[in-house]
């Protein structure tokens, strides 16, 4: 067992760090304040190859591994949680399922421009009455044999990269099936392009954190999509969604890790400068012990996130590793950013200071792509089976 990163991973990390410091950090506060989607940063990331890191080169990607991708999301999130989730949703939730389940034609048509960063991706599973409970889905797709098209009706909510994405993976009900004597919804996955007639956007959500990330409602009204845009087999949509979320959780775990690590770095610098009672607050034992706990937890989270990323590269199933990594990293992110605010004192509560934003950004990592409670369900189901 070797815990040291290879030289190429070290160099990739230094690249992500340099990019994050130069291109992302200077805009992080403004992006949060104005709730503006950082389009220019996304263009720069596309140029630098950050939007196709784990995708094979033959499909326009960088041909790197999930660990490199996780480190990219981590380093971006150290300075801006918004930028981290844009990359995560695009890569894990849109590129990955097309790479895994797409036909060669779908890969050429959709994955290549996505991996090159010419197009941005998104994923629509959640509905007002359905998230992790995929059986609650109301969005329907009906096949029209006369035109060889699927007709999509319904809506999706809380969709990251909404309106700014060009390609959307959409989960919908395509019929009914009998399973163990019960009638259940048959669920399928589709690739939907922005601009398809009948596909519109609802309101943009106003959020607590990751405020520059565009979170929209997707609305489908008699939206006709070509037969060849069915992703994977008809009726396999639930499996596709669950598998996609396994990968997505590694991205969100990496985002949470980055937020925690960024808050820790910021706080270390702050406590050395901040003076009280004639000495820096770093000299107080309380500060030292708090920082020691924060650093230990960040490192523990990092080990779990990297382990999950490695598992994605080498194992057929990595649901448990991904769930554990997300559960751990998200809770560490919330705890470490809260402590970071506390160590900043009153300044930590002021919006001018980065830790205030980081604490707000951290909360969502305990909620989206499966709440911490859902991660516990995944983990416990595995250990009790």
């Amino acid at each position: 067992m070797d815990f040291a990163l290879s030289k190429k991973h070290e160099m990739a990390r230094s690249l992500f760090k340099e990019f994050a410091e130069n291109e992302v950090k200077p805009l992080a506060q403004e992006v949060d304040e104005t709730e503006q989607f950082p389009e220019e940063t996304v263009r720069k990331m596309a140029k630098a190859g950050f939007l196709g890191i784990p995708i094979p080169k033959e499909y326009g990607g960088q041909g790197c591994d999930p660990l490199t991708y996780a480190m990219c999301v981590e380093e971006l999130s150290k300075v801006c949680g918004t930028t981290g989730v844009i990359v995560s949703a695009h890569t894990s939730l849109c590129c990955d399922p097309i790479q895994t389940y797409g036909t060669e034609e779908q890969k050429q048509k959709f994955l290549v421009p996505l991996a090159k960063g010419e197009k941005l991706g998104a994923f629509g599973l959640t509905e007002p009455g359905a998230g992790t409970d995929a059986q609650g889905q109301q969005t329907k797709a009906v096949f029209d044999e006369a035109t060889n098209e699927w007709i999509l009706n319904g809506s999706k909510c809380f969709i990251t990269n909404g309106k700014y994405a060009d390609v959307y993976i959409v989960i919908a009900v395509t019929g009914k099936i009998e399973k163990r004597g019960k009638t259940m919804k048959e669920i399928s996955a589709f690739i939907v392009e922005k601009g398809t007639p009948g596909f519109t956007f609802g309101t943009k959500e106003k959020k607590m954190g990751i405020r520059g990330s565009a979170t929209y409602e997707l609305i489908f009204t008699d939206c006709r999509i070509p037969k060849e845009n069915l992703l994977g087999q008809k009726g396999k949509g639930f499996n596709i969604a669950m598998h996609t979320l396994d990968g997505g959780r590694i991205g969100i775990a990496a985002q949470a890790l980055g937020l925690a690590a960024g808050a820790l770095d910021t706080t270390i610098a702050y406590v050395k400068e901040r003076k009280q009672f004639g000495r820096s607050i770093a000299q107080f034992q309380n500060t030292q012990f708090q920082l020691a706990d924060m650093a230990t937890k960040v490192e523990a989270a990092r080990m779990m996130v990297y382990r999950a990323a490695m598992a994605k590269a080498t194992q057929k199933s990595y649901s448990v590793e991904a769930a554990m990594a997300k559960l751990c990293a998200a809770e560490v992110a919330m705890e470490v950013t809260t402590k970071a605010v506390q160590l900043h004192g009153g300044y930590g509560y002021i919006r001018e200071y980065d830790v205030e934003r980081m604490m707000r950004d951290a909360k969502i990592t305990e909620i989206y792509e499966g709440t911490s409670e859902v991660q516990r369900m995944v983990i416990s189901a595995n250990i009790l089976k």
Binding site: M11, L15, G49, Q62, C64, T68, C72
Partner: protein, 260 residues
């Protein structure tokens, strides 16, 4: 077109300068980067490659660790890396360095050689022009813009308050300023390729038409007596006064310091 770019691994001065007890730089204890002027030279070569098509070979002389800058160059888009390293080449000044690099470049085909203007750890700006002398080709230094026209290059050469536009027939050598361009980032896939790429390693035996007496410490006419960190200046004093008061204030200060 074939382009050779010379780069140097230099200490990252942002991380602080560290010295050995004998006054020489403790390179092992300092973080390193690709010299900024050289990086601009590499970017210029890569842009020529993008525009006209070219094979870009990057050459560095240094410790075995210097292969890192070659991998960085490949991760940015260079095609090949050559590391010139040998104990007998150690302690080289600009003369011995340029002799070594020219000896290495004589093995290569080239239309254009690009070097940085100067390295941030030596600041001499001598190595590039010296290489051109050794190879007997024209040099245009301080390039702030480069274009290719047929078998010639057209270069804007920077001066303090103006620039000259010079045309030279290739093969020739250009020294680049950091202001020449904004170097691109490496790509993640480029980094993976760079670590799979083979770096060519050359030693003394691979150098063509060079004399041992021109190499390494022995071949270096310049001896460094002592190197030291810059003495940090104080923050100074800021005053806001109207012009008449300011003159009186300054004259008073100059008298106080016995300047006038």
């Amino acid at each position: 077109m074939k382009i050779v770019v010379c780069v140097k691994q230099v200490p990252d001065t942002k991380g602080g300068v560290k010295f050995n007890p004998d006054g020489t730089l403790d390179r092992g204890a300092m973080l390193t980067i690709m010299n900024p002027d050289d990086k601009a030279g590499l970017e210029a070569a890569l842009r020529l490659k993008d525009e006209y098509g070219a094979e870009v070979t990057v050459v560095t002389m240094g410790l075995p660790k210097a292969e890192e800058v070659l991998r960085e160059a490949i991760a940015m888009g260079a095609d090949k890396g050559i590391l010139v390293t040998d104990r007998v080449l150690g302690g080289a000044d600009t003369w011995a360095t340029s002799t070594t690099l020219a000896g290495a470049i004589r093995n290569l085909e080239y239309d254009l050689i690009i070097t940085g203007r100067q390295a941030i750890d030596g600041d001499t700006a001598q190595v590039g022009p010296q290489i051109s002398e050794h190879l007997n080709i024209p040099v245009i230094s301080y390039a702030q813009a480069i274009k290719v026209e047929g078998d010639s290059v057209i270069v804007e050469r920077q001066f303090e308050d103006r620039h000259h536009v010079l045309k030279a027939q290739m093969p020739c050598l250009i020294t680049a300023l950091a202001e020449l361009n904004e170097p691109r980032y490496m790509t993640p896939g480029g980094i993976f390729d760079a670590y799979d790429a083979e770096i060519t390693v050359w030693g003394r035996a691979n150098l063509v038409d060079v004399d041992d007496s021109d190499l390494g410490l022995k071949g270096s006419p310049t001896k460094i007596a002592k190197a030291s960190d810059k003495v940090r200046k104080g923050a100074g004093e800021k005053v806001t006064l109207d012009p008449t008061e300011a003159v009186e204030y300054l004259v008073g200060k100059f008298k106080e310091k016995h300047v006038i």
